[in-house]
Subunit: 385 residues, 4 copies
């Protein structure tokens, strides 16, 4: 059996999520190819321990080593966004297939360079927009493509979290522009914009408003991955957005779009919520109840019309026949399994797979236009990719 | 225009509800007959004030006076259950149409005598099972009759309240057998049993368990209608059930029934909830969201099956075209308006209307069998009416 | 007992709603003053029939007659918006108290003249923002005022309907600028903007996008109030918005606001939904479940934090002790009863009551700024009142 | 590092679930011991393929071989219930720790023998009641133990599925007494009874009603694990219950219990739903939304009381800190990971772990009493273990 050997760069939150995905593929799927967790790489010393615990054959403290390793087929980048570009470009040069977590890069130049690198190298490339592999989202996509929603009038997307409401929460890297590029706008906004593009289409222009509600936060004593502990007496500036809201216009259609992302949506933990209203029907999705899709069919008998709560856990639903009997729900981490399965199959078959780096670039062009709009307070055109 | 003159016996909770209903009929409906709030009657002195405030032409302290009054067409009995039988029987003798609140009577002999009286007199007679006029329940009934639910496998009905959880809540008349006949069993149970009969069919036998969780309560200092204030130092015995649960078997079908009513369902205020599962579909109703009906259609396309939340507030739905535009919900009190409208039309047309006294008797026969079952702990046959 | 005599100008949808309110006041409340349905007025002939059915003492085909009538204390204007200004101004001149349905007027000049008229006359004046009297909204207001929500970060308000999705739906007056002033923007938007002002505060500037998805509709054969039947072969232009979305900035605070109103929100019938996220808590309200309020308390024990579904139907909740026992929900029409009760009390006591005409003007100033923004696609300052 | 070597007997639905659990332990947890998937065993030939795909070192066609293997520390039995007893008893004799799927055995004699075997051998023994490791259920248990629910008045448990509603669904082994012991009663009922015991306490007596709605089904052409394809022309008898309902009384308390399990609950796929109402609060759990717990706190301020929807996905919640950031939900299969982690730790530490074989026996004693009650239609005492 053919083998695909993975080198994973990064070992915190997303490192664990991707490791889980590679590990669980053979439990659920049969890709007819062996996925080998070859090397776990990080510049932090505990990578040794994690490599062992998670079943990697090797570990490395230097990503250049991994990228240069002839035995590696797929370089998977879950390291901080600051190094996405250099790792991905180098990996592509070495002929490796590349998976990169979102956001693609910290700036458009880097993003464009990354797209060029993978496209010139002809390698399979993917960006980690895992919500494209939530079964309910795929079902939504199918309904839209089959015309069940009709002409789309409204798109609304929210990504709601509340972990920054506490003013004592320390200044983690996600609150610092040089490390994160954007605040919630780039982090959570990227997911929503990608879903808008995936489900509706390309975006023409945007009008954005941003706020940083809490301007200074205590510097962290210790920081690792997403988490940080304690807060020192010293304060540092939050120079990214806490919250971002934007109106969108789409290309070639009259759809009215709205996106709101915030880490100040008190009470919401990870509410990625999408609603689409069309001439023939509507759909509502909520990541916190990701095994469900609400669907309104305007064609149903008038007396029994209403939003139908579909439990997207039947064998007829996308990905599900590989999991469990009806009603045995899957978890957030399984969306990553679905993603990795599709990626592995694409590599195996030598075909391209969505969402690719160009999708990542297109998403970032929207975020970038929005960022500029937030400064000028004007409707701003999305640049060409 | 013809007139129907109402004499209302009782002026507390249900007196107010029935008065509201007579008052609002012409706002929503056009029965082509004038409903006149003729006389409000109670043996409590403040009936004078209420008669004036609510727009009654007269008031009376003696129900015999009202029943004997030639000008009264309809005697509506919302007084304590202890006098239901004598008022109703006398009213029927006088040729009055009669509406009586549930439960029909405190015992079966009285209930049978009431049925005989109204049937011999040939007067229009109705029992106040107002939930038969909730638009969502009527829609459920329609779906069942049209075969959309198919063969019914399961019926579950709950009536959940929690106003007795507080041990300091005083010993109101609803906790005393000689005044109330039953506890929650007769009060809330009557509604559920009636809905079981209305939606599914007649009941063969039952197996019941009852509990009185708090055996003694402080005697009330003052009591009026449903409410009571303060609690004296003296305690009195609760000699009715606090909660009642029962399994049911229906006539001529294999449906499995379950009913649970309690005033100890902590957190539920007035949750009258019905679920029916059949070979072709299911329905769920909850009185706290009484403008909605959940409907599952097993015939729908497999990929989009699920429970549909129907907002029963469209002109195509029962009663609604007389109310407001879509989505402008009606309230609990409006179920009484619907009921009174149907009653007034029946009187106008000289026809009978459901639920009639015989429905009240049949319901009580089930409650009675259940009460006996609770004592013997045996499956108990429902007696013939 | 003192009397307050009402002259109601208009007898369609809102005429019925206001009539219901005056009729039901004494069922639920005891304002210690008699409310008399004196005159029902409309220029349509069937006003005679409705006056009789709804219990008005008189009817009139000429509003000037009503406004000039010495016996009338309160002029209630539910006629088309085109005559709001002249009726209200004349009524104020005659010293009548005035209630006017929203929107206050078709243009700002008229709105300002109306405010001047009632303020100079010193009469009690109110605009029909009845959602200020939904018990759940009042509870939300209380929580905000008590500091339970803290500093407000986000306000989102939607008013979702779908009655224009069908392209064959005729060109009713609500789709025509000269009759309606605005489309959904003014009709439903007014409610949301008022709630934004009531719950959060005054609005500084707005950025608005509008769409008219279906540009032409069949002319109606017959039209009355909200409804219209049949569609002729001839088409007419829709010259107002079908949908409107806007971002808002508030005065003196960093709150991010968003409002979206549409008659193309397929599947939603009358979903007036409000969410507010603050530093100490959040609230969510949905008119389709108007007896409920979702409340998140960030101060609760971490293990049991979550959105609490409050059934706003307890005696401790605003207005409710006048209605029914817990869990017996009220309907949309009862919000009007609450409103009229407050108005009647204000007239009785000679005090002012919110929302007054100035609130109506302030709301309209926001709508007007938004309308201009929709044309220029620029953030637009709300004018001073 | 110490090693625990697993021999897994069975490789269909639960074989996959247990394999997933052993595989994922090191992703989420650090048990300080290495779990080795040593041998996968089944008498079906494709076990070879699955052993390879799932990462087992060996495979075997004979469970006796596995049980006798000195290298195996833990024998995990997910084979058909018909061989539970012999495998478990033999494994215990060999000093192996044993995990056995529910139901423990097909009859009480076997179940008792199994308990004796493991207790005499002194091995760690566990029965697969995985719902005890749903974080929301553990939170419920904590709330109950802390007195937050108070005295328990009501327990209701449902297990709702609908995969037998189709009369053409073939006669799978779960519908045949000799293979399955019971119908839904034993399969789903076991889970509910165990949760009743876990959350409330021991059960005294039960009164049960069962139905087999569809008495004959087509014989399957091919059958494997839970699934079966095609239906031959020949029909076979269903000799177990399709649905089972029972009332329960508990030991030493007045709690009223009700359990209903059915494969004819049309529209419900895997709805394991628990509600408990007590003197201080209530909880509601639904497996289809297993990351949530509804909690009503009667001690909360009266104005804001209501059911709180707790997202049980915070680091403060049981098991969750090992998974993902807030709001990233876990799936059904992860309850098995939690269970295996606790089992592995117990083996590592040489301590016992719940639910053990005796819990399995006690559960079966309730099911057995209920089964007898279904035949006699009498309240039936649960036998001593």
């Amino acid at each position: 059996m053919e083998k695909i050997r993975v080198g994973l760069i990064g070992h915190r939150f997303m490192g664990k999520a991707h490791t889980h995905a590679y590990t669980d593929i053979p439990i659920y799927f049969d890709p007819k190819v062996e996925v080998i967790k070859d090397t776990l790489c990080s510049n932090e010393a505990d990578v040794v321990e994690y490599a062992k615990r998670w079943g990697y054959r090797n570990c490395s403290l230097d990503w250049r080593e991994v990228v240069a390793n002839k035995d590696i087929d797929l370089v998977d980048i879950v390291a901080p966004s600051t190094i996405h570009a250099q790792v991905a470009i180098e990996a592509a040069k070495q002929g490796k297939h590349v998976l990169c977590e979102k956001p693609l890069a910290l700036n458009l130049d880097d993003a464009r360079a990354m797209v060029n690198a993978v496209e010139q190298a002809g390698v399979v490339n993917m960006i980690g927009f895992n919500y494209r592999r939530v079964p309910a989202i795929v079902l939504a996509k199918q309904l839209i493509e089959e015309g069940k929603i009709g002409e789309i009038y409204h798109f609304r997307g929210y990504y709601m979290q509340d972990w920054l409401v506490d003013p004592k929460f320390p200044l983690v890297w996600r609150c610092v522009k040089k490390d994160a590029g954007y605040g919630g706008h780039g982090d959570m906004g990227a997911h929503i914009i990608d879903l808008a593009r995936y489900l509706v289409g390309d975006i023409d222009d945007v009008c954005c408003l941003q706020r940083t509600f809490i301007k200074q936060r205590p510097l962290p004593m210790f920081m690792s991955g997403l988490s940080a502990t304690g807060g020192s007496d010293k304060m540092g500036d939050v120079d990214v957005d806490d919250a971002s809201q934007m109106m969108l216009r789409f290309s070639g259609r009259e759809t009215m779009g709205y996106v709101e992302v915030s880490r100040f949506h008190t009470g919401h933990k990870n509410k990625n919520m999408i609603e689409i209203n069309g001439s023939r029907g509507s759909i509502i999705f909520d990541l916190e109840r990701m095994n469900e899709l609400e669907y309104f069919d305007r064609g149903a008998n008038a007396r029994v019309q209403g939003f139908t709560n579909i439990q997207v856990s039947e064998a007829v639903h996308p990905f599900i026949e590989n999991y469990w009997p009806s009603g045995h729900i899957i978890g957030w981490a399984d969306t990553q399994v679905n993603q990795m399965y599709d990626l592995i199959c694409a590599i195996r078959d030598g075909i391209q797979v969505h969402a690719d780096f160009r999708d990542g670039l297109k998403c970032q062009l929207v975020l970038d236009a929005a960022q500029r709009s937030a400064e000028t307070l004007e409707w701003t055109k999305v640049a060409e990719d």
